[in-house]
């Protein structure tokens, strides 16, 4: 990026502006057919008041399945790169300190910063976690859903990790748990997609009487998967901070 000179940057922004300007200035009205149909029928057909949820878990649930697989692959790639880096560094050095907070001897010098970080993140973490679960569970009614709530859950877990000083064994346990949650949530999502095949003969068809149950279940699985996956990724990256 730095190699490009300033005139080149200005020229690129000018070209981009020229490309997108017709889009903003056009008088053509947007197509409304699909919008009207969705606004009318989405709630009753899929059981989700929130139209975004109705689309991505009702009409297009199969695409959502693919999306979670994309996330899984991205996660495995990141984890493999991170663990490769870790192995290389452990060959040369003594085992690194895995404390997220500062070490004991440094704590006295940075007392204010340490306390501020630990108190604030420790107190806010549970609230964010609760809000994340709320967003996941209410994904069919209010804005949000599995992916959004999962990201919020991940931030909550990262706050917990930043706020609580703990030792290596604990963090190993935590990572195994997160790994377990992530994989089992994906397995449950696959099961939820495949079980209706034997009941109704269609993949991802709703086997229940009440339509909301199925949407809530899918949202919960996605939320757990996204939350556990992203926080697992961030934790394993942060843990290598002393390398």
């Amino acid at each position: 990026m730095r190699k490009w000179s300033v005139p080149a940057q200005i020229a690129i922004s000018f070209v981009l502006l020229l490309l997108f300007l017709p889009l903003f200035l056009s008088q053509e009205s947007w197509p409304t057919t699909a919008r009207d149909i969705l606004a009318e029928d989405a709630g009753t057909q899929t059981g989700a008041e929130n139209i975004v949820s109705a689309i991505y878990l009702g009409y297009r649930a199969f695409d959502t399945l693919g999306e979670t697989i994309v996330l899984l692959i991205a996660l495995s790639g990141t984890m493999s790169v991170v663990s490769l880096l870790k192995r290389n560094s452990e060959d040369e050095r003594t085992p690194v300190s895995l404390d997220f907070s500062l070490e004991e001897e440094k704590r006295a010098h940075h007392r204010l910063r340490t306390h501020l970080l630990e108190v604030v993140t420790g107190k806010i973490g549970p609230i964010i976690l609760l809000f994340g679960f709320y967003v996941v569970m209410n994904g069919h009614l209010s804005p949000g859903g599995g992916f959004q709530g999962g990201a919020i859950i991940a931030s909550g877990i990262i706050f917990f990790v930043l706020g609580n000083p703990h030792r290596r064994e604990e963090s190993e346990i935590q990572r195994t748990t997160l790994h377990l949650i992530e994989s089992s949530a994906f397995l449950l999502f696959l099961l939820a997609a495949l079980v209706p095949l034997f009941i109704t003969g269609e993949v991802l068809a709703n086997p229940f009487e009440s339509k909301e149950v199925y949407i809530i279940a899918l949202n919960t699985f996605i939320g757990l998967k996204v939350g556990a996956g992203i926080s697992l990724m961030c934790i394993s990256m942060i843990e290598r901070r002393n390398v």
Binding site: N50, P143, Q148, A151, S155, C234
Partner: protein, 69 residues
């Protein structure tokens, strides 16, 4: 405001302030998404843009360098 923050993030020599500007950019765009009746996108933008990417970027400069060369 958004354009100012974005160009600051792009042009600043200090990577850390660039990252903070990027987080503020995400926050402002989340507010704009909220004002244009897209609360789903606003939640995602606030959680991912302002929260997670900031953490990952800060982690990245910890391991490389703060100066943009």
């Amino acid at each position: 405001m958004l354009i100012a923050l974005a160009s600051f993030a792009l042009l600043s020599r200090d990577l850390l302030s660039g990252i903070i500007a990027l987080g503020a950019f995400s926050l402002f765009s989340a507010v704009i998404f909220l004002l244009s009746h897209a609360p789903d996108v606003a939640i995602t933008e606030a959680a991912v843009g302002a929260g997670l990417t900031t953490i990952i970027f800060v982690w990245a400069i910890r391991h490389t360098g703060r100066d943009d060369r």
